[in-house]
């Protein structure tokens, strides 16, 4: 079994607490942004929650109440989750908490730069970061499997930053819902 590191969890709880404050600050924005993985010019975009109470599940890839594959992007050599994804990840965690039979596989990936086995390690840390956020927000460990493909499974094949940005990612894939 994989052991979650206590320090990591603590750090994430702190991060999540501060993020809740952050997202409520932006909740007066008129419309939500439905496209996960969108990036603003500075690498960060703020996402509003809309006026309704709770989450508008459509924002987080839910179609007719069913979850869909989510992709979260990362900075180079980083496994820190961009705070713009926190609400999305929370929504997936809530779904998992409400549906004990649901299962997800988190696949961690990197861009092609750097060393291959180091990138496998980095991809796993990215997937772990997402897993930890799911666990903190109510998902159960047995619902989640993690795999890292490092740089072996690029979705964009170019050798430029546009392709690299798309390839530095963790994919959350529902294997049962």
């Amino acid at each position: 079994m994989r052991h979650l590191n206590i320090l990591k969890i603590t750090a994430l709880i702190i991060a999540m607490t501060s993020l809740s404050a952050c997202s409520s600050m932006h909740s007066n924005s008129a419309t939500g942004h439905g496209k996960s993985g969108a990036y603003g010019g500075g690498g960060v975009s703020a996402y509003g929650l809309g006026k309704q109470q709770g989450f508008d599940s459509r924002q987080y890839g839910f179609v007719n109440g069913k979850p869909t594959k989510q992709t979260y992007h990362f900075d180079f050599d980083s496994s820190q989750v961009n705070p713009t994804y926190f609400n999305n990840i929370k929504a997936q965690a809530h779904y998992l908490a409400m549906h004990p039979n649901a299962r997800v596989r988190i696949e961690g990936d990197t861009d092609e730069r750097g060393s291959r086995e180091y990138n496998v390690a980095l991809g796993e840390q990215r997937a772990d970061s997402i897993e930890n956020l799911l666990l903190i927000n109510g998902a159960s460990r047995k619902q989640i499997t993690v795999v890292s493909y490092g740089e072996e499974k690029p979705i964009a094949l170019g050798h430029n930053e546009a392709a690299y940005r798309l390839n530095r990612r963790a994919d959350l894939i529902y294997t049962a819902n």
Partner: protein
């Protein structure tokens, strides 16, 4: 022809052939086309006289293989065959003044004769054209001369063996023409699954043979020290596992299948242990797996990434990549006292290091100005030298003679293999006929 100095060398050839047996059943072709892109300025001038006129009728053009080997090594300036006007096949036919006027130091002559339907007698002599002639039979000028008998399937490997003999005679260094390389080929087709294959080919790219073909990634091929087995990582079950394949039979053994990462296998010099990377503790750490007992020993601890282990030639320590200090750097784990020492300090990205055969330097992936290149670091002085300039280079693997480094690069938008000499003077490219080639691993000496 009669040459008294000819040495019978059948035994070594038979050994080489028995090792190569399973590579022999398919026609020779190259999946990788070797191109010399930069040779040594002071390359040794050499003439190679075609061994026979009817080379097309023979299974292998032996002298052409030797010519390609030596010319592509970058260490020789081989006179173009078209410039030759004399074609001696024995010592007495050599006109020394002719060869001296062509400004070559040495001439390689030889013969190929068919004995029976599948049996050939091959001989060669390497001649120094500047040595003094002491008597009429020209024996004094012969640096080395040998005679062999092989079947059709063995001719190409014999040619590489002759290249090795000539290379060592003239450079003082053991040749690697009879070694092999392993690498991963990735082929992406429109609307079809990606095809990953782990292949083994001769050092010049000929005789490629698949070891494993999979719709899922294959990574990190590692030759056993005896060259008979290969460890690799396969994602065939949608997660990483480490296998060891017996290269003669193709039989494979699953050696690591833990939760999380199973990666970066590295054989101990005695072949008894495999250093591997597992993340079952929560983060990637380096472990030793005893291949006899199956026992596992955890080497690194902590919260950082620890990966890409590589053994020192004496087996006393393991170098590895870790981001414990922030970015990835190379560290050494001393197996006697568990002490960890940081080895690299230049730049903020150093990874995938391995030792030179003499243990005095390491080669690695090194980032400088945003570019990823292959670099070599002298361990005593700490001085680092960047050897390549392509910017997307990775996965360096040193030849067993310590002279050349095979690495993965990008050329024309595709993954190709490159070779650079450890002094940076020779550069060779091995582009693939199709697909992307990555993660090369140079074999040990095979005979």
């Amino acid at each position: 022809m009669q040459i008294n100095t000819i040495v019978k060398f059948k035994k070594i050839i038979m050994l080489a052939l028995s090792i190569c047996l399973f590579f022999m059943s398919v026609p020779a072709y190259a999946a990788l086309q070797l191109e010399l892109t930069q040779g040594v300025a002071g390359a040794i001038p050499l003439a190679i006289v075609p061994f026979t006129k009817q080379s097309a009728a023979l299974p292998t053009d032996v002298s052409k293989v030797i010519r390609d080997d030596l010319a592509n090594s970058g260490r020789f300036n081989v006179l173009p065959a078209a410039e030759l006007r004399q074609f001696p096949h024995n010592l007495l036919a050599i006109n020394y003044n002719y060869w001296r006027k062509l400004n070559v130091n040495d001439v390689l002559i030889g013969t190929v004769k068919k004995i029976t339907s599948n049996r050939y007698a091959i001989s060669f002599a390497l001649i120094d054209v500047y040595r003094n002639q002491t008597n009429d039979d020209n024996k004094n000028q012969v640096l080395v001369a040998r005679k062999f008998e092989v079947d059709a399937a063995g001719m190409r490997h014999l040619a590489h063996h002759i290249s090795d003999v000539v290379f060592e005679q003239l450079t003082g260094q053991r040749g690697v023409f009879n070694t092999r390389i392993a690498y991963i080929v990735v082929q992406r087709y429109l609307n079809k699954p990606v095809k990953y294959s782990l292949e083994v080919a001769d050092a010049d790219g000929y005789n490629p043979r698949p070891i494993l073909v999979s719709p899922q990634p294959i990574m990190s091929p590692a030759w056993s020290p005896d060259g008979k087995s290969m460890a690799y990582v396969s994602f065939e079950h949608k997660h990483a596992q480490i296998y060891i394949a017996d290269l003669a039979t193709g039989k494979r053994t699953l050696v690591a299948n833990y939760p999380g990462i199973n990666g970066a296998p590295a054989w101990s010099p005695d072949g008894n242990k495999l250093a591997i990377v597992l993340s079952k503790s929560g983060n990637p750490n380096i472990y030793l797996k005893n291949l006899q007992t199956g026992k596992l020993r955890q080497l690194t601890h902590g919260l950082a990434i620890n990966t890409e282990p590589s053994w020192s030639p004496d087996g006393s320590s393991i170098i590895f990549t870790s981001n414990r200090g922030g970015g990835p750097q190379i560290y050494r784990f001393n197996l006697a006292d568990d002490q960890v020492t940081r080895l690299t300090f230049a730049g903020n990205y150093n990874a995938r290091a391995s030792y030179a055969p003499d243990g005095k330097s390491i080669v690695m992936l090194h980032r400088q100005g945003g570019l990823f290149n292959i670099a070599i670091q002298d361990l005593a002085s700490g001085v680092i030298k960047t050897l390549t300039t392509d910017g997307l280079d990775e996965s360096p693997s040193m030849a067993p003679n310590g002279d050349l480094i095979l690495y993965a690069s990008q050329y024309g938008g595709r993954g190709v293999l490159g070779v650079v000499s450890t002094d940076g003077r020779v550069k060779i490219r091995l582009p693939a006929r199709e697909g992307n080639v990555q993660e090369p691993a140079w074999s040990p000496y095979l005979s």
